[in-house]
């Protein structure tokens, strides 16, 4: 089956992004596929390339990027949710005259149309939030 994952998780001290990752790994292991992972709302905070995770904690951003590398998973970050939280790529940094970009390389900013597309092209959309 083709899955898409929608993330609403509000901060890294909560468990839901880890559950989403575990779920994603498990479904890929079983031969299913992921059409898209869509970061929405406060979950976009975990796509910042400027965050520093303490060494004894799980770096969730890195783990999502590992999934991209290993399984070519398409990960899209909601642009409206991201820009208002200071998660911007080079293009948005220029557009809004900011001094630096913060989106971690490997993630893509795009609009809600990509979520609609994910719903259309997937057999299942599973939401993880908190």
């Amino acid at each position: 089956m083709i899955f898409s994952i929608l993330l609403y998780a509000s901060n890294s001290s909560q468990q839901s992004e880890q559950t989403a990752l575990r779920f994603s790994r498990s479904l890929l292991q079983q031969g299913h596929s992921i059409h898209r992972v869509f970061f929405y709302g406060d979950s976009v905070n975990n796509t910042s390339g400027l965050k520093v995770t303490p060494r004894d904690e799980i770096n969730i951003t890195e783990q999502w990027l590992d999934l991209v590398t290993e399984h070519q998973v398409d990960i899209v970050v909601c642009i409206a949710a991201a820009v208002r939280r200071g998660i911007i790529d080079q293009k948005e940094a220029q557009r809004h005259s900011k001094t630096a970009a913060s989106l971690a390389p490997g993630f893509t900013l795009s609009g809600l149309g990509q979520l609609a597309d994910a719903i259309l092209h997937s057999d299942r959309l599973i939401t993880f939030g908190n």
């Binding site: 468990q15 057999d123 599973i126």
Partner: protein, 106 residues
């Protein structure tokens, strides 16, 4: 072996039962053919009889599942209420395939 007939909506709940309003909203929306999976802190609902009054809001024929990994992380795996079936992550994926839709409550 479970078949695909009559499996409607899988309700995924992740908050501890102290969030009683969330549970009431979730259980009041259950229809025949639905199931509930308790994940993350919601697995506290699966221990013994502590939350029977809340759980009784769901009809008896609604299957209840609890994620084994989350039970283990909280040391609750030996205290499971008989109504619940503890399941691994891969079975969670299987349930999502089996049921036509899912709703996440958080």
């Amino acid at each position: 072996m479970i078949t695909a007939a009559g499996h409607e909506t899988l309700h995924i709940i992740n908050k501890s039962p102290s969030d009683i309003l969330l549970y009431q909203n979730c259980f009041n929306s259950l229809l025949a053919g639905d199931a509930v999976i308790f994940i993350e802190s919601a697995v506290y609902a699966a221990i013994d009889d502590n939350f029977r009054s809340v759980l009784d809001l769901a009809a008896n024929d609604i299957p209840f599942f609890a994620l084994q990994n989350d039970l283990l992380a909280r040391g609750l795996n030996n205290h499971l209420n008989l109504r619940f079936k503890a399941i691994e992550d891969n079975y969670f994926v299987e349930l999502c395939c089996l049921y036509k839709k899912s709703v996440s409550w958080f």
